[in-house]
Amino acid sequence: MIKNYFRPKTIDELSELKYKTNGYLFSGGTDLFVKLRAGIIDTDTVIDTKYLDTKGIEIKDKKLFIPINATYNELRYFIKENKLNNILEDIVKTIGSPMIRNRGTPVGNISNASPAGDFVLASYLFNAQILIEPSSKKIPIKDFIKSPGQINLEQNEFVYGIELELLTDYKFYFEKVGRRNAMIISIASIGILIKEEDNKINDIRIAFGSVAPTILRDENLEKTLIGKTIDEELFKYLANEYQKLSSPITDVRATKEYRKSLVHNLVIKAYNNLFEKVVR
């Protein structure tokens, strides 16, 4: 049961409170309070981060910076205003419901470190750097997330923001397969970014959600693809490779066999949508 509620205003104050109380940080509460009620999290201390003085979402050094407390809806608005990468908008608009997007935050999503986290997938695709305070260090998302629910943080540390690359001239495809069309957690998801040059791959990033303990992305495999001709054969090869790399589980949403099939088919589907007849 919650007995202590704090409203720190500065980074140091927040850090100290977190260190002393080991309390849970609370911004939107869309995940925290669900888990508290379900008894998955048991804490007596909640630290409300919404009173921290932050600047809001901004572009700096050609990167998109999403600070703590920025909500999905604020991010969508920013993307629209500044005409940024549409794939990010494609991903964010599938998260939860309008009510959830009004409260929930990207920083909260990556801190939960769920392999089904849609913003976690986006962070992998855009080579996110996680800004951690009070140490002011930046670590890549793949080093920040250790395993499902486990993140790389000291007790006095917290995530202050996420820095995403701003990419132009990339083709993209995102799909989230769930049990229905809205308010779902993915059974499997795929995000692909491709930059092409003369029908050859100049850069490619492929990430999958919900098919491994963390987001599945293989940068070594991606590197071997640079310079390759974009054709069906290549994507069939990729479909098989990623199917081998995936290690899904069976849960209440779907079986691992179905997820394995989806990994394969979603790669082909992405190809069909990006380079063949596009019907969405």
């Binding site: 229905r180 809205a182 179905y258």
Partner: protein, 768 residues
């Protein structure tokens, strides 16, 4: 008609929208003790010992009751006609727990906090048994779920507790085996349906207190207040006269509240402590410990001649009633009685099978009540047979389906829990429904499929359905009309508006007879002290059964007004008429307004209260019919099915209020679509329901149900009030089969186990 067919909003709509305090939890006494239940973590166990000593010491805890503290009378929670066709196999509390969620102890205290604390401190020792979790292995399983000798049926229902059989049934007309030999084409297929949850917005809620006379008053979110009164009396050995049940506004029931759930537990606390008590089920409790739909398995054999005449239907079923046998036999029989008459020209028909106990969440009533399970199996099989015959599935249906003025031997043989009633279908526009639906979905253009891209296919599919209008010769509804001094009327009805709008349409029926505006009819439902008896809101009965009672009561009231008006005017009754405003001389100028007559009757002249009552029992149960058409788009890379259009063309006779009839059909369709595509039910290996919240149990969202078009064909049921039949359930029946047929037509994959998840579609495509 002036009032009937008026599209007026529900009488309670504004109050509900404004958030007025009208539900059970709002009306429970403010000083109610909070009641919660300790529930079993085991699927099947015997309580060896319960230690409540530590829990009782917690401050604020008022009482903790175990099976040792409450009467042990076998009852059924099912609110049905009496004697009930459900076995009496349930006890307020028992030393056996038969599913994860079964009640172990009742805890009452001053607030939620102390009660929750106490729940944690009760120590229970269990002797754990091997549970029966697979309904196909329940019969003859070494674990006997109801070993106790007190459990019994009230009459012969094929009950055999020693074999875990709650009910069984068999009937045959003609010789299935002989006729099958004569058929040119025969198919045999097996289908499964799942334990769908109702997901009413308002969770099950009950409150109780003792009034100044020492009577037990229960406020309950129930579809069946009069049955609740009878069942509670039986469970606690107290006279019916000492119980009053009040039904306030209800936030949906769909069959899930056609039973007692929280009522016995608050009653136990109030009877023990003398204090008010209330229970509000959590969403998890609603999923885990109320009711679900009966999961069923059907083996269907159909036989036809080359020219497309359906000659034989054989349906062999197995139904899973969970830990208790509520509605076990009746839902099972309805799977036959509300599907088989659709094809009334067969030479032989058989329906047989068993309803078994398992250590799972009990099954009970749910909109469709067996008909949807049977419809999925039969209407899927009909498409498969038509394909084998090389016939268009619609042509095949038209050749074989029931028409107006025809009958079916099923009506007489199969009722609900007993024999049915012979009847001729006086109104049946099924053919018109099919024709209209074909036009609206553009069947000729779209059947069977269209390729949208290399990976997406669209297909259309359809199914026909029937339901009933109450249970003939069993369901009774009564109404009382009372004239007030301003010329308005109180309409007192036992019929239970649970969000359907039945209060409104019953007022419209009374207003039509009296030729007054519906706004002058003040409706009150339902209260066992104040309103006349009605079996309650189930079996699509209210419009037809209660509606006929209201119509009769209004006709009597009209006669009374004419009689008293004639006296007032000094004329002979035969020379007087009533137009809704005035009682007037037919061939003259004398008249008196209804308002004036009403006032003098109460205060000055010939003083009396005008009151009229009537009861109605259907001698038949005229079926509403419909044709449902689905258009789906299947993504063969993910197996996802997108429902593009769903067309429902319905014959429910005259729609008393077309808007309210439409939302009944729309709501039914959405639940049917949910059962068809989304609502998956999963258990852990040790018998705990995993899909016990709205995160894991997916009902369709608005983005999932595509475009829904509901159309009513012109129809008139001569025995119904102003030509009406009931409409509550018919909308739910067709989506599972119509969508399954559409998916097959789109991509050639036949899914025979509900729900049709993307996973099943993709895996079937992979195996093709």
């Amino acid at each position: 008609m002036k009032e009937v067919t008026r599209k007026i909003p529900k009488k309670d709509a504004l109050g509900l929208l404004l958030g007025k305090p009208v539900y059970t939890d709002d009306l429970a006494p403010k000083n109610s003790l909070i009641v919660k239940l300790l529930r079993s973590p085991h699927a099947f166990a015997k309580i060896k010992n319960i230690d409540i000593s530590e829990a009782s010491k917690i401050e604020g805890v008022e009482c903790i009751l175990t099976y040792k503290d409450v009467p042990r009378n076998p009852i059924t929670r099912a609110g049905q006609g009496y004697p009930e066709p459900s076995p009496h196999d349930w006890y307020i509390l028992d030393e056996y727990v038969r599913y994860v969620g079964d009640e172990v102890a009742i805890v009452a205290g001053k607030d939620e906090k102390c009660v929750n604390e106490a729940l944690k401190k009760i120590k229970v020792e269990y002797e754990i048994f091997e549970p029966v979790l697979d309904f196909e292995k329940a019969e003859g399983h070494p674990s006997i779920i109801h070993p106790e000798k007190e459990t019994h049926p009230m009459f012969e229902i094929g009950f055999d507790a020693q074999k875990n059989i709650a009910a069984s049934y068999e009937m045959e007309i003609g010789s299935v085996e002989e006729e099958l030999k004569k058929c040119d084409v025969v198919i045999s297929e097996r289908f499964y349906t799942q334990a769908q949850a109702h997901v009413a917005f308002e969770p099950h809620t009950a409150a109780s207190y003792i009034d100044m006379h020492g009577r037990l008053i229960i406020i309950s979110s129930t579809q069946v207040p009069f049955h609740v009164r009878r069942i509670i009396a039986e469970a606690f050995d107290i006279p019916i006269k000492n119980i009053r049940v009040i039904k306030p506004r209800i936030g949906g029931g769909f069959g899930g509240k056609q039973a007692v759930h929280g009522e016995p537990f608050v009653a136990a606390v109030t009877l023990k402590t003398g204090k008010p008590a209330k229970i509000v089920y959590t969403r998890q409790e609603v999923f885990e410990a109320t009711y679900s739909r009966h999961p069923m398995r059907y083996d269907i054999t159909l036989g036809a001649s080359k020219d497309g005449k359906l000659k034989v239907i054989d349906m062999k079923g197995l139904s899973d009633t969970g830990a208790y046998g509520e509605h076990a036999l009746t839902t099972f029989m309805v799977a036959g009685s509300k599907t088989l008459p659709l094809y009334n020209k067969v030479d032989a028909v058989r329906f047989s099978g068993k309803v078994v106990y398992t250590n799972k969440v009990p099954a009970g009533a749910y909109r469709g009540y067996g008909a949807i399970q049977g419809n999925f199996a039969l209407e899927s099989a009909i498409d498969m047979l038509a394909e084998k015959l090389g016939m268009d599935p619609i042509e095949f249906r038209k050749k074989n389906m029931i028409r107006e003025g025809e009958t079916s031997p099923i009506f007489k043989i199969m009722g609900e829990g007993r024999e049915g009633v012979d009847m001729i279908v006086r109104s049946c526009k099924l053919n018109e429904c099919v024709e209209e639906g074909m036009k609206l979905i553009n069947w000729k253009e779209k059947f069977p499929r269209k390729k949208i891209s290399e990976t997406k296919y669209r297909g259309v599919g359809m199914a026909i359905a029937m339901q009933g209008s109450g249970i003939a010769n069993i369901d009774m509804g009564a109404a009382v009309l009372k004239l007030n001094d301003d010329g308005s009327f109180n309409l007192l009805i036992g019929a239970t508006d649970l969000g359907t709008g039945s209060d409104t349409i019953l007022a419209q029926i009374a207003a039509e007879v009296l030729n007054v505006p519906t706004e002058d009819i003040i409706v009150y439902s339902s209260d066992t002290d104040l309103t006349p008896f009605d079996v309650g809101a189930y079996a699509s009965s209210t419009t037809y059964v209660s509606g006929n009672a209201v119509k009769r009561a209004a006709e009597k009231m009209r006669k009374l007004i004419i009689k008293e008006g004639a006296l007032k005017l000094g004329l002979d009754e035969s020379n007087v008429d009533f137009d809704g405003k005035y009682i007037y001389e037919k061939n003259g100028s004398k008249k008196v307004s209804l308002k004036e007559l009403a006032t003098v009757l109460l205060y000055t002249e010939n003083q009396k209260q005008l009151i009229a009552d009537a009861s109605y029992v259907g001698e038949e149960s005229p079926p509403p019919f419909m044709a449902g058409f689905a258009e789906v788009e299947v993504d063969i890379e993910t197996g996802k099915v997108k429902l593009i259009n769903y067309i429902a063309v319905v014959d429910c006779g005259v729609t008393i209020n077309p808007n309210l009839a439409r939302i009944q059909v729309e709501g039914g369709l959405v639940q049917g679509i949910g059962m068809a595509l989304f609502e998956d039910v999963k258990y852990s290996p040790n018998g705990k329901l995993l899909t016990n919240n709205l995160m894991h149990y997916k009902i369709p969202s608005r983005a999932d149900i595509g475009n829904i078009i509901v159309k009513f064909v012109e129809s008139y049921e001569p025995t119904g009030p102003f030509g009406a039949k009931s409409v509550a359930e018919i909308g739910i029946d067709t989506p599972p089969a119509a969508i399954a047929n559409a998916i097959y037509n789109a991509v050639g994959v036949r899914i025979k186990t509900l729900p049709i998840t993307p996973e099943k579609v993709l895996m079937s495509l992979n195996n093709k």
